[in-house]
Assembly symmetry: C2
Homo-oligomer: 245 residues x 2
Amino acid sequence: MTSSREWSDRLAADRVALDRGSTTERVTDVLRTRITEGMFAPGTRLSEDGLTVALGVSRNTLREAFRLLSHERLLVHELNRGVFVRMLPADDVADLYRLRRILELAAVDAAADAPPEALDQVRQALSEAESAAAEDRWMDVGTANMHFHRALVGLAGSPRMDEAIRQLLAELRLVFHVMEPPREFHEPYVRENRRIYHLLAAGDIAGARAALADYLDLAEKQLVEAYSERAAAVDTATRRGARRR
Amino acid sequence: MTSSREWSDRLAADRVALDRGSTTERVTDVLRTRITEGMFAPGTRLSEDGLTVALGVSRNTLREAFRLLSHERLLVHELNRGVFVRMLPADDVADLYRLRRILELAAVDAAADAPPEALDQVRQALSEAESAAAEDRWMDVGTANMHFHRALVGLAGSPRMDEAIRQLLAELRLVFHVMEPPREFHEPYVRENRRIYHLLAAGDIAGARAALADYLDLAEKQLVEAYSERAAAVDTATRRGARRR
DNA sequence: GCATATTTGTCCGTATGTATA
DNA sequence: CTATACATACGGACAAATATG
């Protein structure tokens, strides 16, 4: 048993300087961004030992963060084997879009009763995406596009629908990251979103609904297509780690 | 290396070995039924110390169970204050029904493509409710009615919709339990469910949709009404524990 | 198939911080 | 303001499961 105290002190620089919120929350945030930004690829196993050292937290704290992220479906937990970054089967992409369609279309249908602030959120997310696109920050464009669709659901004014779409889109990021290149993937959607927003702002609910339905059909088709190709390659590359009983 | 700790460790290991799932799952199940059956009323604080001795598990294990139930929205976690059985504001009941309507109606709309087994699940839940009603087991009737509506959503064949309705209905149980008496509350819904099932079985999707919409309108109205009365009473009774900054 | 090393699952004891009487 | 109770987080220990050679 060699004391590795010096190492942990050295790597403790990875810790977030800001002390707000609980330690668990901070750890969860760090891991979440690492996953959604692709630093931890799907299928990767997150070792307790390695991460406690790297993040400078105890095993118990780390395990709580694992629990949280498992419930966000970003990690999967296998008994006595540990936690892994979730690998989404292609079928799940279709399922994700089925629910997405239901939530977003229902929200737009209810947009007539939405307060102006809710529509403002939509506009804000759109301009967020457009400035990011203007500066070639394509990862941020992807994030802003998600904010746009979260804001769309926000039109329904339902906290639970908000939460549902939030989780759903976080899960979709696992798929997005398998896609390359980011520009060709994210750029067309900004234009689509702009169209949807303008129809909404003009009060044309039916038009916005139709535009959104088109958007979702297109996005799903492209995504499933490109993803199944990629997934096949990734699958063979990680087969070694997927050995089961 | 024999230590005085050996005995207790061995006993703990035996206790774990007796049950299949992990200790965390066991604890979670126990707490979930305690809550949904009203043994722990909304607003109750669940003390870590008290429950560790009562259940014979460690704090870490118990805390993991708390996390799970918090994500099911049965518990709420307040930083440095502990976990409490969720108290649902009356507004949330309306929100629950908004999402419920969206999910269930969308599922029925997709029922034409559902495999026969899915409809079988619906029928099975219905007869489950009817036999429970015949034997005056009204708590079980409530459970079976939930199975019925979960089975309805199952017609869509979407795992994520299944999960969403499962969580939603679990949350609704927090409301149901405030209601009395159970018979008058649960009984009428069995008849409504039977009607919905028969329309579905006859292939009358539109009719089933309309019947379900009626059902949801009625249920929400009754529930919100009765709940706000009750909630007012409960609120004054538990005001002491709800003091905030 | 077996023996070994690694990793997870669970529990304990304790120190520190936070909220409330 | 002090005291008390409790949650947060840490580190250590060992059993059980899994992976490795």
